[in-house]
Amino acid sequence: MNGPAPINDRRLRFDSFAEDDLFAKKPRLPAMGWNSWNAFGSGNTEELTKAMVIKIKELGLDKLGYKYVVLDDGCYRPERVDGHLQSDDVKFPSGFKAMADFVHEHGLKYGMYNDIGTKLCSGAEVGIYGFEKTDCEDYIKWEIDFIKVDNCYYMWDNATFADPENARYSYAPNIKSIEIDGITYSASDAKITGTRAEVKDGYVTFIGTFDGTAPDHSPVGLRSSELVFGISSDEDKETDMRITYASGAVEGTGQWLQVAVGENMYFDGLEAPTQSQDVFTVSPAINIHLSKGMNKLRIMNHRRQENTLHSYAEIRRELENAGSRDIVFSICEWGKTQPQDWGHKVGDSWRILNDITFQVGSDGNPGTAAWEGDYTTAITSQYNKAVIMDEFAGLGKGWNDPDMLVIGMDGIDDVMCRSHMAMWCMMNSPLMLGLDLRRVTKGDHFYNIIANKDLIALNQDASGVQAKRIFTTYNCSEPDKECIRDNNRIDILAKPLANGDIALGFFNLSKEIKTDDPAVSVEQILDSIGHKTAGKDIFANAKEYRIKDLFTGTESVSDSHEFRAGTLNACDCKVIRITPVS
């Protein structure tokens, strides 16, 4: 491995991220099913999985949409056999095809797991890197319907378990100046795009992409930076440029450089290492083409995103080459490379953060989750990011994935579980159950939450529009864009539905009762989501509204053009479906 593969396909480039041009993707609603990770961690087995399949049928969850049964990490023999993946002989003694057959015989869909790196997160040395063709052919033989692809041990980024010095690939060197035709242009005078890069001691550093794995950075807006010089030329010409740089292999200062004029790339590779990240040297000449007039010369490194997209695209391509199965492609790179920018090109959903819990269960132990926390391991940490990502999601694009459901785990009560389910449904998140279903009986508290047909109908609504946060009691000017971590607030989310109804969700994020009773008017709602609302005028001009509470099932009719939730208990929510009555 001498470095990331050359990227000759412009469709994989940053400048093409907005285009849907890589694969003919089937528009699909968020996936629903059961995944082994939160329930059993690495301890999932064939016996347990079969028990889950039987419970899904017994509870009728498949009829509600829960169809995918996904084996997560921990199911493989930890090294290849003759270059092929193989099941762990104790946990899955009958093999993966037999497991698939069992799932399919019960009318369900079968999912598996792998990783774009050299190993799985568990450490098993069976990552898909270098084995894309072989593994995808095997997956097709095993008749998978879903694949979740993780990001541990990735070679070209400083991802989990990867060499931290892989940061050399993720960031450009520190740049002091460039020289063209004898003229020196100072980096500190050039334009910096985005908010990642900054001027420091006369040079520009952090030219690259934010690491989005942790919850502190907003996903909204330009999540990367370039250094852009305006270069005037009095003629069309080929010329040489040189760059004064200092390289490193740490977050913020790398070694990989991209140089473009406009959209034409002239350099895309590693510069020679320097003595340290603040000892500068001059690069060899880079030949560029300047057009007569003003040229936009870009110093950048978008490889953090491009490499990851490239790796995921390789897998999807090999799956398509190997057969014609309809496979849901679940990207799980934890938001690291801002997949909201490029995930739609290759996947059906993309994880937005690191895991929602690190205390997964095992047989007999439900594991533990949290309502709030400093890191990603909490329901509200995931929600707080996903709730402002609605513009990235959609039918034909794919879905923001704030991780699998933690309903059923210790550490959270039924109120939190209800709100968690309502949040995920309003946000069009994939609904992957993560509990031992043997603990569920029809009509019990867990069942009533996960089987709430009215909430699931929001998630699976044919229009495929993620709810938008249209109001929050937190003091901010753009509730649909601002990343808010302070949970002492109530949020109001609005979701347009295919039949012209609108769902509203009032969420008390705090662990204290809230009597604020905020209201939103029809006008406010339509100002925010009117452009996505079917029959906007009908909704606006309705004489009255039929309102259904999606937890109690009670219905009422109101002629008020304002909607409110009343007092909300700690961590509680109210979700209503509003039908205009003309």
Partner: protein, 143 residues
Amino acid sequence: MTTDDFIKELCNKAGIAFDGIYERGRKEGWLDAEDELFKDQAITRKNAARICHMYLLKNMKINDLDINGATALKDLYDCRVCANHIAQVYMRGIMNARNISRNGEFLWFDLNGEDDDLTNSEIIRRLLLVHVGDHVHQDMSRS
């Protein structure tokens, strides 16, 4: 110490048979296939943590503690699949943190690091001292 030696010592101290332990341990859910496949490799701290935690859960029937106190470990979240294993053995005082700043402010677990034989023996000793109902032990990293 190799993984094989670690498991052998655990078996000896716990009074369980070592013969056939890999098959039994995997079926019981506290050993993984990698433990047998790579049994001759030196045991890493994250693997020692996994074996100890799963032994606590599956053999000693001791439930997990709240892991909030383990967030002091700067590298806890570097390993999403072993974070809980590490947190549990750290919170129970079975395995210590590394203190790299020497002023008590910067603790890390050193996931891929290795311990010497004496330390691994002490880890096994502490593991087998845990009882149901035990609360958090103090971190012994500075002792």
